[in-house]
């Protein structure tokens, strides 16, 4: 039923939510369906620090109406009960490329770059 596709190209950390690194992973949920995790391996994440190298995500997401991309900081093991919410963005159908900046009051400051495929 997917009609649209978007590629999350890079995620840049401008500032972390805590001292040191944020251990970042994504939960992506299309049309309120079954969410997927990225990176897609248990206990893996992408350690990020402010001004560090952008994360080359290159993740294509298919959706019919919308896809909600949530950034999490994995503090302890795989258990999502213990993860810290950083921010999220809901993508709907569109075209072209762009960058969205997401911040929270704990100091997290991230930029998500994306390209619509169709």
């Amino acid at each position: 039923m997917s009609k649209h596709s978007i590629k999350i190209t890079t995620i840049t950390c401008n500032s972390t939510s805590e001292s040191g690194h944020d251990e970042v992973y994504l939960i992506c949920q299309s049309d309120a369906g079954l969410p997927i995790r990225f990176p897609d391996t248990i206990n893996t994440n992408n350690p990020m620090s402010g001004g560090g190298t952008p994360w080359q995500v290159n993740l294509t997401l298919n959706f019919e109406y919308e896809v909600l991309v949530t950034l999490w900081d994995e503090d302890l093991s795989y258990d999502p009960n213990l993860a810290t919410y950083l921010q999220s963005n809901d993508f709907r159908a569109g075209s072209g490329s762009g960058t969205i900046r997401l911040t929270n009051r704990n100091g997290a400051d991230y930029s998500i770059s994306y390209t619509y495929i169709d």
């Binding site: 309120a32 995790r37 248990i42 109406y65 809901d90 709907r92 009051r105």
Partner: protein, 371 residues
Amino acid sequence: MNKQLAIDLSPYVEVTQSFKSSPDKSTKSEYVLTAQQNEIFAEATSAWQKYMASPEGKLLEEYVSQSDLLKIKEEVSKILNSDVFQLLKALLDKTGLDAGSFSIGLNIEVELIIGIAATIGVAIGVGDNKGLASSEFLTVAVDEGIDEGALAGVQFGLWTNAPSDLGGYAWATEAEGGFGVDGTVKVVYNGDDKEDILGVTVEVAVGEEDGIDEQETYTFILGSQSGSGDGFLKPAYQPRKNNFLIIQSVTCINTQSDGIGNANEVYFNFKADNEGKNYYYPTYDYMSMQGGDVWNCGRSVWFDSSVQVNLFDSDSIGNDSDPIGNFTINLSQLSLNTLTTFGSTINYSKGLDDVEYTIQVVLVATNVSHQ
């Protein structure tokens, strides 16, 4: 189909999907049951047949087809209390048993976009671990070609580990059957290590169901007798309904003056059409907000006629959160692709002022085919 159970299992499937298949796994193990294992499994499978023919067994089947994960877990924990398992328990109570724990679990198949084979079980300490706290567990395997069913069978297991130490990734393959054991014998390896045997299981199918020869699984410890380990995960997956909206944003006009800083630690739950359980967003944790902040949360919701959204301030640990907003969204209040704002003001008599939030909602689809 047991829709609530499928929803309850969905977050575990999220995690289970996160492991990669490992190559070079043999399709059949040379493992042969020991005499001790054979005796226990033969008695277990024999008692199970009697149990399923009893009124208790019939009731269990009903629970599995209708109840949520928590209720089924509770019922599984009671199975061994039945009189038909007295001889089995006497065998397990023997000293010198070469195992760390024994388990009984119900194999349940659910269709959730993909096929899911789940085992909801309880493990008790045996051998040197006799007297250790029992644990309740959920094992999930993602499989193609699952028949949409309810109770697919039972799984008995003898494990090297203690009951609380059965969690994690494992891989199972079929082995030679045992004498008098009326079921499929499987060897379960700890992770990818073919030398590290986690345990041996026997599965008895209900009806004509044929077992799966090889399985990659992930086991979650849902709880234990000692009270540790709350392994319940919250679902985010929602089955489709007729209409689809997005809670695009939450706007904080004024926070609660609760004496713990100026910010509210905001999360919300929602329920569509007053059916089923609440969903949460963020699914875990919260978003800190102060007056003037806009949180572009973007959580979407399937519904037929209405959605109830409740906003909370998570200042306290556990479920002791303060309500900071209540919103009822009716389909009749929405227009397609038009942003609609809903407001809520809560007056705390002990506080200094009102807590005021709004949510912005957009209806993005109506009359969606979803069968």
